[in-house]
């Protein structure tokens, strides 16, 4: 009977994000931009000079899918961690929302939806940067951008669940940054093929949505290791991560908002 929906929560989140638009653009694109300039161009010139690129393509082409997915993942992650902490712990906004016609699952969906908007924005904007650097071809947009968005959403739902479990924020973001985001960035075959790493640390990449998205992106954009079964395995991993994350997030939101 009432028209309450997750869209109203997403609308609120976007309104809030708009107030932070400069920080979002600066951090969302600034970091990856610096990596692109420093490692992409610096290390890239070395790699290209020594072996004629990596994986049979120029270094930047190899690097681009990973940086794109990484930017999307980080952008999305921001929008499910800070707002969820504000919702449950800092300002307790979710408890106010839970007193309206909204259900806990709708609140979770709304937060996720807004993060999807940021993921899409980040992927599009960063693709333009990559294109400006000559790292990607125009045609690659069709495959690289969806891969990055897919990975961003999968990770965002997972983090939505994790953030909803946090009771107080003592060092939560430091922990996530140090033990999740940074290792994921470093051990996902971002700068070199994952196979170059010893097996003792290779598993980090297997669990990382970034690696799966990167592999998909590389396969689609320049045909790296183009084996169809493997490609679908990567897609399946991301789909499962996203699906499970959403289910668990719904359960956790409901538990906390009806206790």
């Amino acid at each position: 009977m009432s028209g309450a929906s997750a869209l109203s929560v997403a609308e609120y989140r976007l309104r809030n994000m708009w107030k932070w638009k400069r920080a979002i653009i600066f951090y969302g694109l600034g970091g990856p931009f610096l990596y692109l300039a420093s490692i992409g161009l610096g290390v890239g010139s070395l790699v290209n000079a020594n072996g004629g690129g990596l994986d049979g393509v120029p270094y930047l082409t190899f690097l681009a899918p990973a940086l794109l997915a990484s930017a999307a993942i980080q952008g999305g992650q921001d929008e499910v961690t800070f707002p969820v902490l504000a919702g449950f712990v800092w300002q307790k906004l979710f408890f106010g929302m839970a007193a309206t016609s909204l259900t806990p699952a709708q609140i979770a969906n709304g937060v996720l939806l807004a993060s999807v908007v940021r993921i899409i924005f980040t992927a599009l904007a960063y693709w333009v940067v990559l294109w400006g650097f000559g790292a990607v071809t125009l045609a690659s947009a069709v495959v690289l951008i969806p891969c990055a968005i897919f990975a961003g959403i999968a990770f965002a739902t997972f983090m939505l669940w994790i953030a909803a479990k946090v009771r107080n924020d003592d060092g939560f973001f430091a922990l996530v940054g140090r033990f999740v985001i940074t290792p994921m960035f470093l051990f996902s075959g971002t700068f070199y093929p994952l196979q170059s790493l010893p097996l003792t640390v290779q598993w980090i990449g297997w669990l990382s949505p970034l690696w799966h998205a990167t592999e998909m992106g590389r396969a689609l954009s320049y045909g790296a290791g183009a084996q169809a079964p493997l490609f679908w395995l990567h897609a399946l991993f991301l789909a499962l991560m996203g699906g499970a994350g959403l289910l668990l997030a719904h359960r956790q939101f409901t538990r906390r908002l009806t206790a």
Binding site: M1, S2, G3, A4, S5, S8, V9, E11, Y12, R15, N16, K19, Q91, K92, L93, F95, G96, M97, A98, A99, T100, S101, L102, T103, L257, T258, A259
Partner: protein, 305 residues
């Protein structure tokens, strides 16, 4: 409008609300009175369909809040104890955004926001961030927010806790207006004067149970005397003097800092006390209040913050 029977809420081993019965009629202003931890806020959260009950039955507007949460909440206005306003948004934005959560249209909300800002006497704060408001203003904004969906029942949890006297009176005035407009109010408070000011009828709660029910006046006449004589003899002597004042008044409560004599005529009682040779350091004759009712019912005073 609200019907509870055997309403219970347990958190693990702890029973916050231990099977209470009450009913609230349309247009009534109903109070839940009791000290911190009496189970008032938990009861309130069950009524507001934001926490599931552990036992008993509850009907809000003829619906079960556990199974029809969104439907029930659509007709409620909730003013929580912890103001969960969004401090990064302006006053107007807070009201607008909250209205959207009820699925209300932009066209409905645009004039509604202005109307509510006027009601909360915050027109000149329209585009000011909530961060910059005083405690009283925030509370008024929270009440205005609770009215955005034109609720049939407004639930207020400790509406004036932490406010200075002036801000309290402004707030009470606003609530009176709502009452006049026929909005059903449910108020929790541990302030006696607030309960006397706002409530037509109330339940006195302690440790999850209902100790008494009635209008403030009935409760006072039923559980207390017309007047109260307060006597102070200094912390050391109060108990000693208490033993010597037997027979004056209907009942006496000896508190560590003062003696309370429940009497019909305070001045006459004071004369009798002095006649026995016990001159107090300080004395006060006052009307009986709900504070006295609570003391009588539980043997404890409502500890103020």
């Amino acid at each position: 409008m609200i019907r509870a029977s055997g309403l219970t809420k347990r958190y693990g081993e702890f029973t916050a609300v231990a099977g209470i019965d009450f009913a609230v009629a349309r247009g009534e202003s109903f109070g839940l009175l009791g000290p911190n931890g009496a189970g008032k806020s938990t009861t309130m959260r069950m009524i507001s369909a934001t926490t599931l009950r552990s036992g008993g039955d509850l009907r809000i507007l003829d619906r079960d809040p556990d199974t029809h949460g969104p439907e029930v909440r659509a007709h409620l206005g909730v003013v929580p104890q912890e103001g969960n306003l969004d401090t990064e948004l302006t006053c107007a934005e807070n009201l607008y955004v909250y209205g959207r959560y009820f699925g209300l249209s932009r066209r409905f909300l645009r004039p509604k926001v202005d109307e509510l800002l006027a009601f909360a006497q915050l027109e000149d704060k329209r585009d000011v961030k909530v961060d910059a408001l005083s405690g009283g203003m925030k509370r008024r904004l929270t009440i205005a927010r609770g009215l955005v969906n034109e609720p049939e029942i407004l639930l207020l949890d400790e509406p004036t806790t932490g406010l200075d006297p002036q801000a309290r009176h402004i707030l009470w005035d606003r609530l009176f207006r709502l009452k006049e407009q026929g909005v059903t109010l449910v108020v929790t408070t541990h302030y006696m004067d607030e309960a006397e000011q706002l409530c037509d009828r109330l339940i006195v709660m302690d440790r999850g149970r209902i100790m008494a029910e009635g209008s403030p006046q009935t409760l006072i006449s039923e559980y207390s005397s017309r007047e109260v004589l307060e006597l102070r003899y200094g912390t050391g002597r109060n108990a000693e003097v208490a033993a010597q004042l037997e027979g004056i008044g209907q009942r006496m409560e000896a508190l560590p800092d003062r003696l309370l004599l429940y009497v019909d005529d305070g001045e006459a009682a004071l004369e009798a006390v002095v006649g026995r040779g016990f001159h107090p350091i300080a004395s006060l004759v006052r009307r009986s209040s709900l504070e006295d009712v609570f003391l009588r019912l539980t043997g404890r005073s409502l500890v103020d913050e």
